[in-house]
């Protein structure tokens, strides 16, 4: 069964290509796909009848109860036959419905085939979650099919309406599925075998499931989307809105009826709403002039009828429901396809203009007549057999008073008779409207349809007759479903003639009334016009949409103030109010100690003083320096705590940050501006104090909450045994918690890319300009030295001392950075610290020699370096897999290498090299962007200014120069 679905999926994927090359000839080819499924269903037919249900189980997410389970029961077999059989014929029909030059063929073929697959999956699956997935797939695909012509606003709105209504139902259904699944099971067969007790949760779940079913099958009050969906091409209406998708709701009702038919509200929702829908649909069908819309309302009416019978819950009703599904699928798809042919041949669907088609289009009017008689329930059509059976089931209910009091049974019977009479009337209206010769209307000019075009409706129309004649042979195939219902006696087999029975008499009554209604159609139409539209779901839908939209606007306006301080303040207030207050009121303060070392207090006091001064100053640079001071203070605290790696890194980062701040701030105003519209100072200070206090209390309470030894107690042993290193912090970074490090260096890569893209906007600075490339006037003096970039700078910007110092320290810094990298595994250092030192060396080169010098020192793209680093890190993480290890596993290799002698190489060094490269790349990106990038922008602006001045000062000279060549 999964194979059949896969076949549909592949076909849908190939369809655009097929449609591009074969145009409409692709349709017969695609029709083979559902036809294959149809053939398979015929092959397994006897197995299904005899109870050897084909099943297939592919585990997917067993933990969630989500598996690809498939099971073919009699119910799904019947619906699947309809889905695949009608699907194949409709696809065949499309060959002549669409024109070869239709530009949307590629999309239509694909979506339609995918829909057929989704529908098949829906009836085959044995898992409620999968059922939901297929259910929503059909919703989305039908949205695409209804909106086939997105240029028309009616199409778009109809598609959106169908999507919103059925998705609403689908979501309700999902809640119901989960409610049952969590308490019971997601497996459909398990639920049927062992139903849960009807407690409040189950009943609520059943009601939600029914809401899904009712919305899909277009019952009142959701009925309005189906007529709207007639904006779709006619094959879509024939397939989705007659045979397949709208049957999904009926399928669900029939699926649940054996176990939930006794639930409270079940009969009110199925039988009650179903029969109401039957009458409303029939009533409105009689008001239509468009024969397609007439059929659409007829479909609404019929769906209501079938849901009512499927929900009844007796064996006889179950048999009748299946017979109705088959009969309706056949006659309604025939009629829709006929409408398509008529539409193409006559160019209109308005029954006031169509005239005299019956005789001239016999290949269409004959199957239409068969289908129409079946719809009206006239002997010997399939529709007669099934309607007879349905009336029989209601009559039996009324007699037996089970499963509900007989008064309701009689009422239901009366409703069905009324509904049937309306059905007869609109059937007459349809046949008369489409084919009759009307007095006063000239015969409509037609083009004769291609024989292939009428093949599908002809076959389906004949099917209506054949199914009726073969009725006695039909029962055994449907009976296995009927007997799963708990209530009622074993049903009479389907037959054309049961003798003169009450149902037969009722049938005759409705036929008579219906024909009379049609005969008196003008008088009846006048009467209808006087009755106000009581059931108008569409208006309610529009009002709901407006209310939702207004609600969204109001909510957005209240919550999205668009002000950064307000957003931040809300987050912080919640932080103070919830965790902060919880810590204050519920927390237990532990014993504290004053300090580990008095020096901590000195450093801490300086840090706090520096921080407070930041609040006071309005000079940018002063503020930056003060913040930097707190950073160096943190480094001191690290030293006092016994964390040399942290201290080194913090020192380096602080230094780099200072440089970066200065580089970026050099063009901005030196003072912060005052802001009249920012929150008042006291307010900010108050919230700041509250947040600080909350953090302090939480820190105390949380620290006091420790009850066990930290996990890191084993790190010293593990670091040496598995990580082969003595620096525990470094081993933690590159081995024990290397996954974290991998994530963190990815953040660095993202940040570096972000910085570069913010400054250069369009492209990263790949355009390198090296100092040597720039021809220097005194090249003799340059010989034997480096750091030439300084000569490109203006004289007043150069610093001889700085250049000399740079010459001295640059190589030493690079060597130190490599030392930190390689020694880091056993001594303080590592990739982060090493990378920062190398980056700092580049910063020094830049500061001393300007942007050309930077490109001279690092003649490669920063992005390349960052990417290479990530590649090395990930590569070293994955490499152990090749040797049968696990990801990020570390091994030590010992070998002798001249002239070093014994070498002890630990593989996690490679990972650290990746980290090193990423850090260097990030630093390069920062300097290139905030240093070189801004330099270049300044230079460009200056040039522009100068040029502007020139043009202003000497316009004549420029003109003559321009005229010279």
């Amino acid at each position: 069964m999964a194979q059949l679905l896969l076949l549909h999926l592949i076909a849908a994927a190939l369809a655009p290509w097929l449609a591009k090359t074969l145009r409409t000839k692709a349709f017969p080819l695609l029709a083979l796909v559902p036809a294959t499924a149809f053939a398979w269903l015929l092959v397994v037919a006897t197995d299904v009848r005899d109870g050897n249900l084909p099943t297939q189980r592919i585990p997917w997410v067993p933990g969630l109860g989500l598996d690809l389970d498939f099971r073919l029961t009699t119910l799904s077999w019947v619906v699947a036959l309809l889905v695949t059989g009608v699907g194949a014929l409709v696809l065949l029909y499309c060959t002549w419905y669409f024109r070869d030059d239709d530009p949307t063929l590629w999309r239509f073929t694909s979506v339609f085939t995918a829909f057929a697959g989704a529908m098949l999956g829906l009836v085959l699956t044995d898992n409620f979650l999968m059922l939901y997935v297929f259910w929503e797939l059909t919703t989305v695909l039908s949205y695409l099919l209804i909106g086939h012509n997105p240029g028309s606003s009616t199409n778009r709105r109809a598609a959106m309406q169908a999507l919103l209504v059925t998705t609403f139902g689908g979501l309700a259904m999902l809640v119901g599925i989960i409610a049952i699944g969590v308490h019971h099971t997601y497996s459909i067969s398990a639920l049927l075998a062992d139903p849960p007790p009807l407690d409040a949760v189950t009943v609520a779940a059943v009601v939600l499931l029914l809401v899904g079913a009712l919305s899909k099958s277009a019952l009142v009050p959701f009925h309005f989307w189906l007529p709207g969906a007639m904006a779709a091409p006619t094959p879509v209406s024939a397939y989705l809105h007659a045979a397949a998708m709208v049957k999904a709701g009926i399928y669900l009702v029939a699926l649940l009826a054996p176990v939930f038919a006794g639930a409270p509200a079940w009969h009110a929702l199925t039988l009650g709403l179903g029969l109401l829908t039957m009458i409303v649909g029939g009533w409105r069908a009689l008001r239509q002039h468009d024969i397609k819309l007439l059929l659409a309302y007829g479909t609404v009416s019929q769906l209501g009828f079938i849901v009512a019978i499927a929900g009844l819950g007796t064996k006889t009703a179950a048999l009748a429901a299946l017979a109705l599904v088959l009969a309706h699928g056949l006659f309604k798809s025939t009629l829709f396809l006929v409408v398509g042919v008529v539409d193409h041949a006559a160019g209109t669907r308005d029954l006031r203009r169509l005239s005299g088609l019956g005789r001239r289009m016999l290949p269409v009017s004959v199957p239409a007549a068969f289908a129409g008689l079946s719809m009206a329930g006239v002997i010997p059509m399939a529709g007669f057999v099934s309607k007879e059976s349905a009336l029989e089931s209601l009559w039996e209910e009324a007699q037996e008073a089970a499963p509900f009091p007989s008064i309701y049974g009689y009422l239901a019977l009366a409703a069905v008779v009324v509904g049937s009479a309306l059905t007869v009337a609109y059937t007459c209206r349809f046949l008369w409207g489409a084919f009759a010769t009307k007095p006063g209307v000239p015969p409509t000019p037609i083009t004769v349809p291609h024989p292939g075009f009428v093949l599908s409706p002809l076959l389906l129309g004949v099917g209506c007759l054949a199914l009726g004649l073969l009725a006695p042979f039909e029962s055994p195939w449907l009976m296995p479903y009927a007997v799963t219902l708990p209530t009622g006696a074993s049903p009479e087999p389907l037959a054309l003639w049961h003798g003169v029975t009450v149902p037969l008499l009722l049938s005759l009554v409705s036929l008579g009334v219906g024909v009379a209604l049609f005969a008196q159609r003008e008088a009846f139409a006048r009467a209808q016009a006087r009755v106000p539209a009581l059931v108008d779901g569409e208006r309610g839908f529009a009002r709901t949409l407006r209310a939702v939209d207004r609600g969204a606007v109001e909510t957005t306006a209240v919550t999205q103030r668009g002000s950064l301080p307000i957003y931040l303040a809300s987050i912080l207030l919640v932080f103070v109010a919830l965790p902060g207050m919880a810590a204050v009121t519920q927390g237990r303060l532990p014993e504290v100690r004053l300090w580990d070392n008095p020096a901590q207090a000195v450093v801490g006091a300086l840090m706090i003083a520096a921080a407070v001064l930041v609040l006071v100053t309005r000079r940018r640079l002063t503020a930056v320096m003060l913040v930097g001071a707190t950073g160096y203070g943190v480094a001191m605290l690290f030293v006092l705590h016994g964390a040399p790696d942290l201290a080194i890194t913090q020192m380096l980062v602080e230094t780099v940050s200072l440089v970066v701040f200065v580089l970026a701030l050099r063009r901005m105003p030196t003072k912060f501006t005052r802001h009249p519209d920012s929150p008042s100072r006291t307010w900010r200070l108050g919230l700041g104090a509250a947040v600080g206090a909350a953090v302090g209390v939480i820190a105390l309470v949380a620290s006091g909450g420790r009850t066990t030894t930290p996990v890191s107690v084993d790190f010293p042993t593990e670091a040496y045994t598995f990580g082969h290193g003595k620096n525990i912090v470094n081993v933690t970074l590159v081995d024990i918690r290397a996954w974290d490090t991998l994530g963190e260096v990815s953040v660095l890569v993202a940040a570096a890319t972000g910085i570069a893209s913010l400054i250069f906007v369009r492209t990263r600075n790949t355009r390198l300009s090296r100092a040597t490339a720039k021809a220097l006037p005194s090249s003799n003096a340059a010989r034997g030295t480096w750091l030439l970039g300084g000569r490109t700078m203006r004289k007043e910007k150069r610093s001889v001392i700085f250049e000399v110092v740079t010459r001295l320290v640059f190589h030493i810094m690079l060597a130190a950075s490599l030392y930190l990298l390689f020694a880091g595994h056993n001594q303080p250092g590592g990739g982060f610290a090493g990378g920062l030192v190398a980056g700092l060396a580049l910063v020094v080169r830049y500061l001393a020699g300007g942007r050309y010098e930077l490109d001279e020192a690092a003649p490669f793209d920063a992005g390349l370096l960052v990417g290479l680093g990530l590649l090395v890190a990930v590569g070293s993480a994955l490499a152990p897999l090749a040797f049968g290890g696990t990801i990020l596993e570390t091994t030590a290799v010992d070998f002798t290498l001249w002239p070093w002698g014994e070498v002890h190489l630990v593989t996690s060094l490679v990972f650290d090299i990746g980290v090193y490269l990423i850090v260097v790349g990030m630093m390069l990106d920062i300097v290139r962007s905030l240093g070189t990038g801004i330099d270049r922008q300044i230079a460009e602006e200056q040039e522009q200014d100068e040029q502007q001045q020139e043009t202003e000062d000497e316009p004549e000279e420029l003109q003559t120069e321009g005229a010279r060549p």
Binding site: E538, R550, G604, H641, T673, V695, T708, V729, L836, S929
Partner: protein, 159 residues
Amino acid sequence: MTTLAPTGFESTLTPNITLVLVVVGLVAVGTALALDRSLVRVLLGMVLIGNGVAVLYLVVSGRAGRAPFVGEDPAAMSDPLPQAMVLTAIVISLATIGFLLALSYRLWQISGTDDVPDDAEDARIQRLARDDETSETYDRSEESTTTSDERAEAGESRG
């Protein structure tokens, strides 16, 4: 390996009040700065908060001790795990500083100031809410998807 509870790895923790006070001070000032309109001050506030959190890690990592190297007496060693966590955080804070600075620079370049303005789109929505209007993407047409055709046809036949 000794089984005595080593310094850095205590099973109960007596927090260092001095460090806690440093955390409180840095976070309080940082928060006050972060509530400002100037993006550079926001950034400085974030840096201060970041420094405070780094110190917070020291608070929860227990007593100070010797540097965590194999060969040291574990009983005298400081806890290495929080240190590893802070190390990456420090480097990431550098990247954040770079990014936010680039952002402020760009903001300054475009608007001539590094102040974060209120969102214009949100202001528009607030105007809609005040006027009891629907959103701009709302489909105002309430005509039925089916009767629009009927009416059009009816109008035709009348005319």
